[in-house]
Symmetry: C2
Subunit: 464 residues, 2 copies
């Protein structure tokens, strides 16, 4: 008997799951239907800032696989088709053909197995003027195209980016590359609230040095428009910032309205809750529903708590795990340690594990160590400075987190800490790690080892 | 009572030990005397190829700390003074002032604790002509200076590098940068015998593409000289290779003649054997002698056997550990996993853990997986190709080794594998590692993860 797998959402998690399931099961065993309400499948949202900034010239470069390419692999992708209801009791979903407009008939599709990969939606506060022309999100390729069209058309001079997280700082770079005067309005004390403030300050100082105007501790209260109805400025309590274009980079929330309406379990961050095989927990799902990507919460292996992290690399892994399991194989997603890397122009930013406030919230006592070092031997051309901050648990010396801000060669060093966190290593054990050394690649003590040495000393000094 | 610490060898291991001991103990508690037969202390031998190649302009850039800088920290460094005998029974060493010539009086110096850091000596086969002018080693700063002087003076055109390990390939790049036509004569099937031959071939092909003439499977039988006595060619069984300069890069052996003469225990590679605190084993050392750096053997954590690895980063770690222990603290060096990185022009080379032949020699059954990927998202400018080969144990799936050959951004990815090896991870566990992802830094699946996925599949296919 042919089973039917239904997938809601045609991006990384959903289509990775579909593709992996197809690898394991032929069409006569498993029919696969995927619903996507947008106009693209399997695209790299993470690449949008670089497309807007001009490093990536073609939109299609960001598309890993088109609907037709999926169809060639016997995945029935239904584009511009929105799922509007999940009925877990009768194992079916109701969908609507968006292209057919308001009159479209709605269709029920039954499933044996369902994958929810509805992604995330950008935070868009209900401020006056936020829907004015010239205010742009950058979540989808359509968003990116609209922003690019606008940049070409209006040839403005001043851009305001609202938010100073990953999207915010990457869009600041993109707009700088397009010749704009860029102001970043940021609610936090420092940009990059995924870092501790002392490390975020390094990012802010570097951004200022690049000619970006940083406005911290500032909440946007409204978007001001001109007589033509277009955006003309962004206002905070304290000031107005003239803007020919505004880009919103306020982060995302799990897109789980369908799941909530169906009675599926959501966590404290609003994401779906799954088990380690990425199967949705609880009696309503009844073992027939999986979920992955930006719509789920994941286990943080360091704090032992659930988190919401919207990141393409996790979505792909989830899809792979789900596809294996629904395809009759076996795989698990054990959780994350919270690694992220980014850059603003030539400044690299990386973090993994817990910040100080995360450690406190998790009930952990810790010490910190911060060091400066270089990406290569100091005498080798191109050696770039970097600052590494390390957190370790008191008494045990277990690594809790690492943050790195620096020039070329800084960011990916965080991977060493990500593996060490996964393995539960102590910082003292890390001081002996056998990392690659040669003058073009590292000082004789890799910066991560220098930080581990200082953290080891801090653990000893702190005593019990 | 003031104790006396005597250090034999003024480079990385010896002077790190002295410095760390000094940090922990003041001069009135611990007198430190260091003997160095050469003219420099604490220099970066690993940097010599880049100094010869012109990337590093000043010899002094390679010196981390001069004798006078050590003396300022109350370390009594005796330069050009060779230790000629260790007398463990009476806890003393006999030394000779080389500057004073053959008539020099020999001096006995007593120690409470002794550090042997005599380093390694380059392999120099007793071939006809090997001592001819124009044949150079590159072990010390004096060697580097002599080579540079010769390159300036003779303005030759053709260089032959003997050996295709790290020093060989780095010197090939250096001589290419100096405008030479470079031939590398290599005993092995492929260059870089620290890699499996299939990965070494990639290096060889790339070197050929750079205009370097690669001669593999070729043993040098003699060095031919001209009427002026200078080198004019290198001969193998099969052919002659004209040379205005010859550089020897045949690797090194532990410099342990003193230790051997004193009856201290040496391993099968000729290196001193120590415990985990870097204290020399056995009754002769009587707990008063430590050793580290290029003159010792270290535990390979993957194979469980002793190896000899001459590498500055290990020497520094050994010194740190020894210094802590002789200074009244406590530290250990748990062993290595065999990580090494290098480059030839823009080709990066990295390895960690076991090669296929190492795994066989260790009695392990294994599977391999080789993949190609890129250093950044494929659409991001500057994405460089790399090949990653991974070895995993059959049945258990435990990671055994990784080799990487590729362009910019390839080599330091091996650090992820180095940490995973240290932690004893399986390749399946590695597929879920939370490595940093953003388009400028990695494809959505990092190349190491792609290799881990393929290795996981190979483990499953191989079954029990």
């Amino acid at each position: 008997m042919t089973e039917r797998l239904v997938v809601i959402g045609g991006d990384a998690a959903g289509m990775s799951a579909a593709s992996q399931a197809r690898r394991l099961k032929a069409p006569q065993e498993l029919e696969i239907v995927a619903f996507e309400r947008g106009t693209f499948t399997s695209f790299s949202a993470c690449g949008i800032p670089y497309w807007v900034g001009g490093e990536v010239s073609e939109r299609d470069d960001l598309i890993a696989r088109t609907p037709d390419e999926h169809r060639e692999r016997a995945i029935d992708v239904r584009m511009r088709t929105e799922v509007v209801e999940i009925d877990p009791a009768r194992r079916r979903v109701r969908s609507r053909d968006l292209a057919a407009g308001a009159q479209a008939a709605e269709t029920w599709t039954e499933y044996d197995k369902l994958v929810i990969a509805t992604g995330a939606r950008p935070v868009r506060p209900p401020l006056p003027g936020i829907d004015a022309p010239g205010v742009h999100g950058v979540q989808t390729l359509d968003d990116g195209q609209a922003l690019l069209d606008m940049l070409e058309r209006t040839r403005g001079r001043r851009a305001v980016v609202v938010g100073a997280g990953y999207i915010g700082v990457e869009m600041a770079e993109a707009l700088l590359n397009r010749g704009y005067e860029v102001t970043v309005v940021n609610r936090g004390e420092q940009p990059m609230s995924t870092l501790d403030p002392d490390m975020g300050r390094l990012v802010g100082d570097a951004m200022t040095g690049m000619g970006i105007t940083m406005v911290n501790d500032a909440e946007v209260t409204k978007v001001l428009t001109g007589e033509d109805g277009r955006v003309r400025a962004v206002a905070t309590e304290a000031a107005e910032y003239p803007a020919d274009v505004v880009v919103l980079g306020l982060g995302v929330r799990p897109e789980t309205e369908l799941a909530r309406a169906a009675g599926l379990p959501l966590g404290e961050h609003g994401g779906l809750l799954t088990d380690l095989s990425m199967r949705v927990r609880g009696p309503v799902a009844d073992g027939a529903i999986w979920a992955g990507g930006d719509c789920v919460e994941v286990l943080d292996l360091v704090s032992g708590r659930e988190r919401h992290i919207a990141l393409g690399t996790h979505a792909n892994k989830h899809g792979q795990v789900i596809g294996s399991n629904v395809g009759g194989g076996y795989a698990t997603f054990p959780g994350v340690v919270g690694t992220a890397v980014s850059k603003v122009c030539d400044l690299e930013i990386a973090r993994t594990g817990l910040r100080e406030k995360d450690a406190r919230a998790a009930g952990l006592r810790y010490v910190t160590a911060t060091i400066e070092s270089t990406s290569r031997a100091g005498y080798y051309p191109g050696a770039g400075l970097m600052t590494v901050k390390m957190l370790a648990e008191r008494r045990t010396g277990r690594l809790l987190g690492v943050q790195i801000v620096g020039r070329e060669g800084a960011a990916k060093r965080v991977d060493v800490a990500a593996v060490a966190l996964t393995a539960g290593m102590t910082v003292e054990r890390m001081t002996a790690l056998d990392l690659g050394y040669a003058p073009p690649f590292s000082p004789v003590w890799d910066p991560v080892l220098v930080a581990a040495r200082k953290a080891t000393a801090a653990v000893r000094e702190a005593g019990a």
